[in-house]
Symmetry: C2
Subunit: 809 residues, 2 copies
């Protein structure tokens, strides 16, 4: 959703705008939960929300292990065949972040005493969250506290915290308590269906041991049958005598350090954390695994972990960085986004990438089509191994998807609309099971990854089975009508304000690609295909269905209807819809949304991005204008696609506005739900808006195509990509684009339609002139906020949207 | 649904076939629950299932008060705006039927000892359920027991039982316990969504008193805030000394009679029962109301109640009886059906008529569109006051329907898909809220009733407000497209194997009538209309929308698609569907049913019955044939409409087959769920199949039209109707029809298109010849069982359906 109030000009910014950091110069108690998501650290396996070290105050305490979930029943007022009966919800695991502090008998709590300074910095190159505090207790004791936290990208099970405290002006007695706490009580999250179902005390203690500064807690879930272990170990460095004590109970492990400090003296604690979970391994095995991970971390040491972290990130940025001159907010946001995408996917390793990464419990911790459609493209061209891992997870779940298809009476595999482990968890089939496009989205991600990497082993082991089973689904889901046209009836496309429609253009085009590519890949690997049971007849039937695929077109309006009949529907009465009635789904019944022309999120416009070859340039312009007038962006997924297509049809300033919206979704908390976790797909949106939008980047068949063009507000855009063992850098300015091969054998490039091979010599190409077109209108009140690059300007201008119609593209 | 196994030839019939009775010659423990529904007695206010007097064994104990319900939460896996949060479920109220018997210390229980004779008879003219038993106890004591039970049609609060016991061959000690029992434990009904949600101990005791042979129990529900009272009083007639004792506790009232009987002596107990409930009245008021009802019943006395009952029924049959020569089963079934329809509606008095009447807890005791569409037509032409009452109840709930429309963002009133008190209780909106046709069905029932009765006061007080508010709904629900065509998108028609479709023909035609009739009625009552806020502009907008209403037609196939695009869909793979996979909704997901050509119940075919003027005879034939091939009759509502339209298009034997199915739905337990209550709409189906089918009866604008024609298996059909203060009788034979005015000023009649006025002289008219047409095919295995009128023939023939294709119409 979008929420104009969330980004009002009068709101003082929470974070400083810097190119490589997200700095919070002061603590804002009213933005605590947002900050916990923004400052979350993760490596895709373990995620720690940016909770304060001392645990309180908090918005929402959160520590997550990828795919560690609890089951809950899915109830229905009226049951139906094939409805999933069991849901999966990510749970808050044992919290190892806690370090509480007593200063002369008074607990350090930012809500009491006096806070002189409180700064937190997320460093996108170091991969650390740093905190600096200066505080005077109610009794007048002044201390400096600093902490540095990391979740290791190189040691998957490990996180670490360096915590320091020193008196400012007089000697102090200091007690630090470093803890592991399971079953933390969580605040009530209200009844917004998009927020995770609260699960109280989901963990059952199995073991608790302490030894020296080391504590291990082992728990299991009540219903899902998963087991986890968390451990901590410490290095303590203080002057003079420090008393150290450890204790444990089923849900609490505690290491206590007491000491006295003079001004100039400092207590330093390095806390190593390790986590592990399994659905199969025994309690002792899991216990030992965590102890081993702690030993490895201590062996590497704090400085070693920091170094490894930076090296890992340096390598990432070498192939992924995006530079933006002229729009500092977007510059920061695109790097912030890339960082969090990396965090979500880096070490997920054959587990899913959730819609919120491991930054919060939103959407129950489920993964959706967003991952394949919006996140994996970024990873494919910047950190391809993570894209391969995510698709390998889908491949691992193929048996469940086959079973689901069978239950639904279909051939092939039907992947779940939302899930953690692989089973369908959607409790509303018109916007869940019926959204079969997820299968084509997965296939498309496979095709994209294989095109970008030529990863033959992946193609054979993961890619082909996924394409074959999804193609089988489409072949069975559709049918030829009496005139031989292939139709796909009764499905739901990306736009969730329509459902259960016939011949959704996006779905049909993506299914067509799925069928074509499956046939092509099967032809490339005839032996493997045969082992998968693919006969030449079957492959031919895929090709034939693809060739006969219906793509509805409204001759009267000369636009593509989103689905058959869509343009006959009544248009939503936008003029009568009050601003506080968005998002519409919370204020209008589905029946009314479904039967009218109103669009939650880009659907036909997404089809024009991903299947651009199916539309003429004129159709793209007309379609784009038509759907601009209907799209309310009640989904955070929409703006990035509108940015990409606005750029393609020459609406560059409009594209820049949409780019701003997707890029700043979480840093500005535009949807007002960043508290529940970051919108990982919006993180990807900043990259897409810049690279696929202003860079015009499309890739297929071994060729990287670009059609770069910058809006007025951006003077230079440079981005790096990885493609077929090449790393290239593209630099775009108003008048030209420069292509440089940084590494690799060379690459076929297309620039505004002209193809050439990029070798060691940089290539400079001019940007063709653009004829300005009138800017299309959005539904009243749903215009994107105009992008201004000078933050001072933004703070003094009028209400959002007022100027947006007067700035031509 | 239909179930061929339920009527297999090898199954010996449970009930004897007699014209005016339903006789169960022996007790079938395996059919106990079915019998409880078949033998249920009701007056529309109070309903008593046909449980055995002694309470056990039972299928399902049941005593119901119309609209006495408990609330229960409606849960959703994913919530949505406008979903109803609270459901309503009919509850089993205090059981007053119980009379337990001890014979020489041994309880009378048909499962023990030896049952020499057990006969039960439902007498359709007397309105009583009679039972005769001869039983020898395990200890060898032989007794004769008989009981007669009635639920009074003349004293709404009252039921009564005459219970007699006598020894056969030696003196006996006999103890009879007559009871009132609240919160009976109910058997688990399984998880079939169509069965009532079990509600345990829904009643909270408020008062229990006993006095002489009289006991009163007062209870209230836990959540819905309703209060009820039940009372019993007795007349005891026995030889010599009888010891009588009464007692009461919160959930039990008991009157005990002990005596000794010689052979030839008899203990007779007359038990008077009275019930009352209210959402507003106090405990003492309700208590007193029941005491008064008991006093009135005793004043009338047992014989008096019997007499009143027979008089009431004699009057009913005079205006309603249907005679069928040649098919004894259908003869019995149509009277059985009329009897139960009368029982459901006679004294409902501004309460709803539930889908199961007061015969069982099926469908949670809710009312649906069936009442207006299938049941009220019968009542309109046979017992019009009950039709008026049922519509007056709808009128009473207008405020709730207006509120619901408002919640849905619509003008006018949106009546609930299923309810007890008036609030929407449907927990699945695609087959609930979206089925807006219920509003047109109510309007159509109003128009039909007003046409049939010229009840001016009803028209002004009930009819006009209902038509106006439903017309407003349609005007707002539809819209004119760019070409000026009025479209109704995103709704669900009668067929529940499609949902959320555009321009369902049935819905559009019924909405058209609703709009036209509302405008016409407003014109007849300009002052009243003005008071309802109807301007001439508004009425004109209804007329215009009606005139521009889209009725989709498939030029290619030359049939009407059930809804726009329907005929483009893939046809269901009937050949691959196993017989035990019906009903399909329990074995296939909605998504698959919705997107294919497969029909649960007549939809377009129903439109052809109710809106016949919108189709040419040729279209009717072609449409009928087309939809025969798609309709699986997984709804018990379907067969009667197929019977009516089969007759209209000249498929007389096929019509007879469908008539058999609807007529015998409960007597033969065809859907295997008669245990949960009778299918009141199927009860109406026997009448419709005969009168509207073979009689070809249609009524509109003061004219009764007929197009009579009999199938080979029926030699004579005679039926009586009430229309505009006339009572007429129509007698149809193969060669001619005779119309007789039995009472009233005379009436305009149309016979096969020829209009004449029927006065005191009977009119005989010939039946035109019919050209035989090939019989259309049904989905394999879904053919109706061929109707054979000789029961011996039926018992020896092969599997059902095998011959049905070889008997041309």
């Amino acid at each position: 959703m979008t929420d104009h109030e969330g980004r009002g000009a009068s709101d003082r910014p929470v974070y400083a705008v810097e190119p490589w950091c997200v700095r919070e110069p002061e603590l804002r108690l009213d933005r605590l939960a947002q900050g916990e998501s923004v400052f979350a650290l993760s490596n895709g396996h373990l995620g720690l929300r940016g909770n304060l070290d001392e645990g309180e105050p908090h918005g929402l305490p959160g520590s997550y292990l990828n795919s560690f979930f609890e089951q809950r029943p899915l109830p229905y007022a009226e049951a139906g065949y094939g409805y999933p009966e069991s849901g999966q919800t990510v749970i808050n695991v044992t919290n190892g972040k806690l370090i509480r502090l007593l200063v002369d008998d008074e607990p350090f709590d930012v809500r009491y005493g006096r806070l002189h300074e409180h700064e937190r910095v997320l460093d996108l190159r170091a991969g650390t969250l740093t905190r600096r505090v200066e505080w005077t207790s109610p009794a007048g004791c002044r201390v400096r506290i600093s902490s540095v936290r990391l979740v290791s990208l190189t040691q998957r099970a490990v996180a670490a915290i360096r915590y320091e405290v020193e008196p400012v002006d007089r000697p102090l007695r200091v007690v630090a308590q470093s803890e592991l706490v399971a079953n933390e009580s969580l605040p009530d999250l209200g009844d917004d269906p998009r927020v995770a179902a609260a699960l109280e005390s989901p963990l059952v203690g199995e073991e608790h041991v302490h030894n020296g500064t080391k504590v291990i807690l082992v728990h299991r879930t009540r219903r899902s049958g998963l087991r986890m272990a968390a451990g901590m170990s410490h290095e303590i460095d203080g002057p003079g005598r420090t008393a150290v004590d450890a204790e444990s109970s089923p849900d609490v492990g505690r290491m206590t350090v007491a000491t006295e400090l003079e001004p100039g003296q400092r207590l330093r604690i390095v806390k190593y954390l390790a986590y592990g979970w399994s659905s199969q391994r025994s309690r002792p095995a899991l216990h030992d695994q965590v102890v081993a991970a702690l030993a490895a971390a201590r062996h590497t040491g704090w400085e070693g972990l920091l170094e490894q972290q930076r090296e890992y990130l340096d390598d990432f940025w070498r192939g992924a960085d995006v530079e933006v001159d002229g729009d500092a907010e977007v510059q920061q946001a695109v790097r912030f986004g890339l960082f969090h995408i990396l965090q979500a996917g880096a070490r997920a390793e054959r587990r899913m990438i959730p819609a919120k990464g491991l930054t919060g419990p939103g959407y129950d911790g489920h993964t959706f089509w967003d991952t394949e459609t919006f996140v994996l493209p970024v990873l494919t061209y910047t950190h391809p191994d993570s894209a391969a891992d995510a698709l390998a997870w889908r491949h691992m779940t193929l048996p469940m998807a086959r079973e689901r298809a069978h239950q639904l009476g279909l051939a092939g595999a039907a992947f779940p609309w939302r899930t953690i482990r692989g089973q369908e968890c959607s409790g509303y089939w018109p916007a869940g099971t019926a959204a079969f496009h997820i299968n084509a989205d997965i296939a498309d991600a496979v095709v994209r990854y294989v095109d970008a990497t030529r990863d033959e082993r992946f193609e054979c082991e993961v890619g082909l089975p996924l394409l074959v089973e999804t193609a089988r689904l489409w072949r069975d889901l559709g049918h030829h009508d009496v005139e031989g046209v292939f139709r796909i009836d009764g499905v739901t496309g990306p736009d969730e304000y329509s459902a259960v429609v016939d011949n959704n253009v996006y779905t049909n085009l993506m299914a067509r690609r799925n069928l074509q590519e499956a046939a092509a890949m099967a032809m490339r690997h005839p032996d493997l295909a045969e082992r998968l049971g693919v006969s030449t007849e079957e492959a031919a039937s895929w090709r034939n269905a693809a060739a006969a695929m219906l793509v509805p077109y409204d001759q009267r309006l000369r636009v593509h209807p989103q689905s058959e009949g869509f343009t006959n529907h009544s248009k939503w009465d936008f003029a009568a819809t009050k601003p506080d009635h968005y998002p519409l789904l919370l204020n209008y019944p589905y029946f009314d949304l479904y039967r009218k022309q109103v669009i939650k999120q880009a659907d036909l416009v997404l089809a024009m991005h991903l299947c651009g070859e199916a539309f003429t340039p004129d159709q793209k312009r007309r379609n784009f204008d038509y759907y601009e007038g209907l799209t309310v962006r009640d989904s955070s997924l929409s703006a990035q696609t509108q940015a990409v297509m606005a750029a393609e049809v020459g609406q560059l300033d409009l594209a820049h506005d949409y780019l701003g919206e997707t890029a700043l979704m979480d840093l500005h908390d535009l949807a007002r739900n960043t508290r529940d976790g970051l919108h990982i797909a919006s993180m990807a949106g900043a990259w897409s808006g810049l690279v696929a939008g202003f860079g015009g980047m499309r890739a297929a068949d071994g060729c990287l195509a670009f059609a770069p063009r910058l809006p007025g507000g951006i003077s230079r855009l440079a981005f790096r990509l990885r493609y077929r063992h090449n790393r290239i850098r593209v630099t775009v300015r108003a008048e030209n684009a420069v292509y440089e091969l940084m590494e690799g054998p060379g690459i076929k490039i297309r620039h505004h339609g002209d193809e050439f091979t990029l070798g060691d010599e940089p290539a400079e190409r001019p940007i063709p002139a653009l004829t300005a077109l009138p800017r299309p209108a959005q539904p009243p009140g749903r215009e994107p906020v105009p992008r201004r690059t000078d933050p001072h300007l933004r703070e003094t201008e009028g209400p959002p949207g007022a100027d947006s119609l007067s700035s031509p593209g």
